[in-house]
Symmetry: C2
């Protein structure tokens, strides 16, 4: 066996297994190996198992990483973020913290319109610089693949600029970026009272340009009452699918509109938020194999209820957990806090949580075939923890335990 | 003016001011300077103010730190931790997360007795190594002074060993350690059913040795029903005071026993937890100038109510926020999460929260005279944030924003 990198002295290797989302009880079935080693050949995992069974290595000696008895887990996949944006909305955050009602916050000038204005006004260079800093933080927290959405331009030019910035960043730093066109994130002032007209614009004017530029793998829509209702959402997603995009939805966050059922009907990879999804619609998602993506940092930041992740797992859904990083409702990319919330406030086991942050999040991006677990043939995206067990990812509450990050076989981050 | 270190290009300097705890409305009065500079002479702050008014520097040119437009705040003081311990209690954490009742957790072998056994069995070298790793994490989160308690030995030898470890660590790494003897943390098996006998032992056998070795500045007691009741707590604290120790209390966490009132009566620097403290007792604390220390990470980890910090501030108390880092109820030293909880779940403003994590926490250790704010003459303990404003300490939820740490005038931590 050839290896370019060898991770030795692993106290505990912990990983989900498989090339598709794990659902229900299987989410807690991890492969756990004590005293393990992982051999990497260039970008992919060549072998992972008990150190005592490591095959003989041929060829030039590999670079070596000493895990010093720590645990090794797959790199985290953050499958739902809005990490490219201009400006901040801290005023709004503190108004909400003080208990100001939603309408009063809007009256004072809070809301997504601020971010749309600041993003429209930002150059590609400015957007790239701030997004790069956010990605660097994410990498330090162990995120090796991140999804990023447009949706703060709501016009042709700015939406394309957001996606272009993601394309550049994907090439310029280690974290793999999966781009999503989310023009239907909010109704722009130009289409006030006319969401269908805006959907027409998105389908006719923007989608072809996104397609032509190879700028997005997915399309997403904020399917909510008074924003994009079921008909408009379906029309947009079907148009996107017919052009070859994968589709995802922001579904049933605020009211029970049926977005989760739509996700199942249109064959979405993932439906996200889901606080108010009906049991029937969740059942349809389970049958259709749509990943249920929970965003506990948003609930924490808004002091709203958490999605019923325990019930979702129990009824056989594949649950992913992601950050929802954005400047308004959830300015956080804290994977450690998301893990703590999953275990303490969503009733998930730590095994289910690890699966939700890795393999199932990869599945929510259609990437479970090549990442999300530590298995021969998959990308060598993995984390060496400064902790003896993956269990400390929840037990050591809110703390970043990532000691070293290996991305596509290269050591890209080591804690000083 | 002479300076050995000059921090330049500070977008926003934000600090409480004064040499004693800030109480009530004054907690939110920060000094905020845009485009600021800070000059340090060896260990202390020589000058802090608008960069345009920086006095001429004499002598050899100082080392320079470029804050790159970021905010600068005082180093955090974590005034309540149990960071020296053996073993872990992750089993218990997950049992509790799954909803097992307290008695069932005890029946399965959970509880502080595990940590007492593991700490008794640990060598000084083992305790030092694990505690040093915890301190390194804390420093990375911006903690420049930390209080540490004994209380996992409950016998003479181990209690002294815990305190010795803190003395060694204080000398061997940058974070200042303030040690507290907390023999009355729990009733050891050797004194089962006889807390008064254990208090006698602590007073007669342990306190003199702690005093003689100069091993602690404070003494602390877990004043709760069925553990150390008011009489025993008072006897211990008065004995400690008469020997020259400062005193603090774990008070009114589980039932309304009156520990907060006792804190006022004995002149404690701080009473901590306080979830169930009576209004009268809080009033007595305010009058006596006892700092009210809130421990929101514990409430978060236990899924219990938060201390009524908003009401405390409103009735004129000086409130501090600390981590309570310990292996059982709260294995976390996350200052970022504590700040988020203070603002989102305890109703504090971010200004009050910053004061609570710096000046008031210093006051809870009797150290507000020389640290806890950025003022000429105080120790040069300060943080350069990778963020434009101190407000991001809450807005950027759960994220570590510390870019560089200056401790006693030396750059001791810089994010890679």
């Amino acid at each position: 066996m050839r290896a370019t990198l060898l991770i030795e002295n692993i106290g505990e290797l912990a990983t989900p297994v498989g090339s598709s989302a794990r659902a229900g009880a299987r989410m807690r079935e991890l492969r756990i190996v004590r005293d393990a080693a992982v051999a990497v050949d260039v970008e992919t995992i060549a072998w992972a198992g008990p150190a005592s069974e490591l095959p003989r290595l041929d060829g030039p000696p590999p670079e070596r990483v000493d895990a010093r008895g720590g645990a090794v887990v797959p790199g985290f996949v953050d499958s739902h973020t809005h990490f490219v944006f201009g400006g901040y909305r801290d005023d709004e955050f503190f108004w909400r913290a003080e208990g100001l009602p939603y309408m009063e916050i809007h009256a004072r000038g809070g809301g997504i319109a601020n971010t749309v204005r600041d993003t429209r006004n930002a150059s590609a260079e400015e957007l790239e610089a701030s997004a790069a800093a956010r990605l660097e933080r994410m990498l330090g927290l162990g995120v090796t693949t991140v999804e990023g959405k447009s949706g703060y331009g709501l016009d042709l030019e700015t939406e394309l600029r957001q996606l272009e910035v993601m394309r550049l960043l994907d090439a310029r730093q280690p974290v793999d970026i999966v781009s999503t066109y989310m023009g239907p994130h909010s109704i722009p002032v130009e289409y006030k009272g006319n969401p269908s007209g805006y959907i027409d614009f998105a389908i006719r004017e923007v989608l072809p340009r996104v397609k032509e530029g190879g700028l997005a793998r997915f399309c997403d829509v904020f399917c909510e009452r008074g924003v994009f209702e079921l008909d408009d959402s379906r029309r947009f997603l079907e148009a996107a699918r017919s052009m070859g995009f994968g589709v995802k939805l922001h579904a049933d966050e605020i009211v029970r509109l049926g977005g989760a059922g739509l996700a199942a009907a249109v064959g979405a990879v993932s439906a996200d938020h889901l606080l108010k999804a009906s049991d029937d619609d969740l059942g349809a998602m389970a049958e259709a194999g749509v990943v249920a993506t929970c965003l506990p940092l948003t609930a924490f930041s808004l002091r709203e209820p958490y999605a019923p992740a325990r019930a979702m797992v129990d009824r056989g859904l594949a649950v992913a957990v992601a950050s929802d990083l954005n400047p308004g409702s959830c300015y956080s990319q804290s994977i450690p806090l998301a893990a703590a919330l999953a275990v303490l406030y969503m009733g998930m086991t730590i095994e289910e949580t690890l699966t939700a942050l890795t393999l199932n999040a990869a599945a929510a991006l259609g990437l479970a075939g090549d990442r999300g677990s530590i298995e021969a043939g998959k990308l060598a995206d993995l984390l060496v923890l400064d902790a003896p067990s993956y269990r400390h990812l929840a037990y050591h509450v809110g703390m970043n335990l990532v000691g070293a990050v290996v991305k596509r076989g290269k050591i890209v981050g080591v804690r000083a």
